[in-house]
């Protein structure tokens, strides 16, 4: 295999002008042994996920219902709730995350050892949901990387279980030869910010912000 260069974007207009990413893959590629080993490791990982429930609000109640007898998360190897992030594989953020809680979820994510995944349960965790105001983070994917989004307010337990099964499928496709799969974004050393300040200003602008609406109807 050796050196390969992949165009940044597949669309023809950008292909010529866009920057190029050079990726170096190990010699040998995905042979029979490595793919079998991958399969074995992934099979083990996906069927014994230890969730770290980050339950803040109403979605946490549905999460508890999912763990209780009728829906029984133990069928998916997830009955061992890990309330300490250091022994957890998958962070399930169930509920809204106000700005006061944002540093805490970030810290919990950083405390979790690799390999780790994240599920964002509910409209609030995914997008801010109906709390389109000054207090609530508009989606936890602005703080941590999210693998599966489960829509709903709250999602039904079946929905959460479907999200978990999607995560298991995703884990089954991971390849050890892909070195960049666990890369995390590093902050810019000069500004200590993860994304440029101009972009932060842009996304923190009041957009469609409910409390900025006028009290139009007299």
């Amino acid at each position: 295999m050796g050196l390969t260069s992949i165009p940044h974007s597949a669309s023809p207009e950008n292909a010529s002008s866009g920057p190029e990413i050079i990726s170096i893959e190990p010699k040998g590629g995905d042979g029979w042994v490595t793919t079998r080993l991958d399969f074995l490791v992934n099979w083990g990982r996906s069927n014994s996920l230890w969730p770290m429930p980050f339950g803040t609000a109403c979605c946490a109640i549905e999460f508890m219902a999912t763990a209780a007898s009728k829906f029984d998360l133990a069928r998916f190897g997830m009955e061992r709730m890990s309330f300490s992030p250091r022994q957890a594989d998958v962070l399930i953020c169930a509920g809204r995350v106000p700005f006061k809680l944002a540093p805490i979820i970030r810290r919990i994510w950083q405390q979790m050892p690799q390999p780790k995944w994240a599920i964002s349960m509910g409209a609030c965790a995914s997008t801010g949901g109906m709390f389109d105001n000054y207090a609530v983070v508009q989606g936890i994917d602005t703080i941590i990387p999210v693998d599966v989004y489960v829509p709903g307010c709250p999602p039904r337990p079946e929905g959460l279980i479907y999200g978990i099964m999607m995560l298991q499928k995703k884990i089954m496709t991971e390849r050890m030869s892909n070195k960049s799969i666990r890369d995390e974004m590093e902050p810019d050393p000069s500004s200590k910010l993860y994304i440029p300040a101009s972009r932060i200003d842009e996304i923190s602008e009041p957009f469609g912000n409910s409390v900025h609406q006028t009290r139009s109807a007299p």
């Binding site: 009728k70 105001n133 000054y134 307010c153």
Partner: protein, 433 residues
């Protein structure tokens, strides 16, 4: 080669000093020669306090409460609760929503008691509008409130048992909650976030055969109460971990402004359903359980008894549910039926006005309190005559109840803090709003 280090632990005492304080066991570390590497720590503990932090992400804090505890050994000297981790701006959003549009927010504020909050909100808005609801609607709302009280107490039971170390009641209570979810789903289409009421009525009448389902629930649920009762009430571990903890005397409870099961466990028989009846609660036959000691165990007993009383009220509701319309006949607040809105000019105008501008109450203010599972839940409205409230305020019972936690945990052991905190039955969504 590294020298081998030995650690000697001197277990000469039973762990308590003469005056009953926990004594630190001296820990001597030394090398091969037996020379102590460090001075043994002093045995005096006075003045040496430790600060520990529980939460905000901790399963035993029932949400995102943060407790900072100052410990002397294992005894709590001081406890400082920190709230605000779930502040989502409910009251501010309410100022930008019409009355019917606020109802979905009331689901999410005390999310264990969604449908009860819907009813409480609608009662408040109706007092502001000066609307008298129909008889059928009243009974349906009582059914809603009592189902929601059962559902909320069940979550309290399940999570408290997990905190104290029993797992089975959690499974039992969630099984029963699934039955309630099924009933609610058949009625309003949602399991948890119901949004069941509207100003002047309900979002939907109950479907055919729904009462059969409720009857089934009412007949099977007492068995679960009996099982829980038999498993916990005389269980040595349960009793040992709850009796004598977090005692509030009746005077203290009143001075702290406690309400709900917390207040009743201290021996004050205050129940909004009896003292300031709404929804014709005075015509129902039920008892208000009252504790004597005001400790965690009494709170448990009071809540279990309330489950039984709620079943009694539900039985009476099934018997008396009258026929008739659910919504008031008032075009100011209620949408006309669809066939009229598409064929009659009057109804179309009402429909348009209701949807585009929303119902407008007269200028004024009002406060309505109901007995939520956690205590006295109040909604306060200020209307400036527009279709949106100028101010909407929630009186969260668990916020007031939580304010007593520094007093209740003082002098207890660290592990008892968990039991005491669980006994308050807090919901952070309601506390931080």
């Amino acid at each position: 080669m590294a020298t081998k280090r030995t650690i000697e632990v001197e277990l000469s005492t039973s762990g308590l000093t003469r005056d009953g304080k926990p004594q630190r066991v001296p820990l001597v570390t030394g090398g091969d020669t037996g020379v102590a590497l460090a001075e043994p720590p002093s045995l005096e503990l006075d003045g040496e306090h430790m600060l520990i932090n529980i939460g905000p992400q901790h399963p035993a804090t029932h949400g995102v409460l943060r407790l900072v505890l100052e410990l002397d050994g294992e005894t709590v000297v001081r406890c400082i609760p920190h709230v605000g981790y779930l502040h989502c701006g409910f009251e501010k959003i309410g100022e930008y929503r019409q009355y019917n549009q606020i109802i979905p927010w009331t689901d999410r504020e005390d999310y264990l008691n969604s449908i009860g909050n819907n009813v409480a909100f609608a009662l408040g808005a109706e007092r502001l509008f000066g609307i008298e609801i129909t008889e059928r609607c009243k009974v349906l709302r009582v059914i809603a409130m009592e189902l929601s009280r059962i559902a909320s107490h069940l979550v309290w039971l399940g999570t408290t048992c997990i905190d104290i170390g029993a797992f089975t009641p959690f499974l039992w209570s969630f099984q029963e909650r699934e039955n309630i979810y099924n009933l609610l789903e058949g009625w309003v289409g949602a399991r948890l976030t119901t949004s069941a009421t509207r100003v002047g009525g309900m979002a939907a009448d109950i479907p055919d055969k729904w009462l059969e389902g409720l009857r089934g629930f009412v007949s099977t649920f007492p068995k679960t109460i009996y099982e829980v009762d038999r498993m916990l009430t005389k269980n040595a571990i349960w009793v040992g971990r709850t009796i004598g903890l977090g005692v509030m005397s009746p005077d203290e409870a009143l001075n702290y402004g406690l309400s709900g099961p917390m207040l009743r466990a201290s021996g004050v028989a205050y129940d909004v359903r009896k003292d300031f009846p709404y929804l014709d609660y005075e015509t129902y036959d039920f008892d208000v359980p009252v504790g004597t000691n005001g400790d965690v165990y009494d709170r448990f007993l009071v809540r279990v008894e309330e489950l039984r009383q709620s079943v009694r009220i539900l039985e009476q509701c099934i018997k008396r549910l009258p026929d008739g319309p659910v919504n008031v006949d008032d075009p100011r607040v209620i949408l006309p039926p669809k066939h009229k809105a598409t064929s009659e000019m009057e109804s179309m105008i009402h429909h348009f006005k209701n949807v585009m501008e929303g119902p407008r109450p007269p200028v004024g203010e009002c406060y309505v309190a109901v007995e939520s599972p956690k205590g006295e839940k109040g909604y306060y409205f200020v209307s400036d005559g527009t279709s949106k409230p100028a101010r909407w305020r929630i009186r969260p019972p668990s916020f007031v109840n939580l304010s007593a936690i520094p007093k209740m945990v003082e002098g207890h052991l660290l592990s008892d803090v968990i039991a005491i905190n669980a006994s308050i039955d807090i919901v952070m969504g309601e506390i931080d709003r």
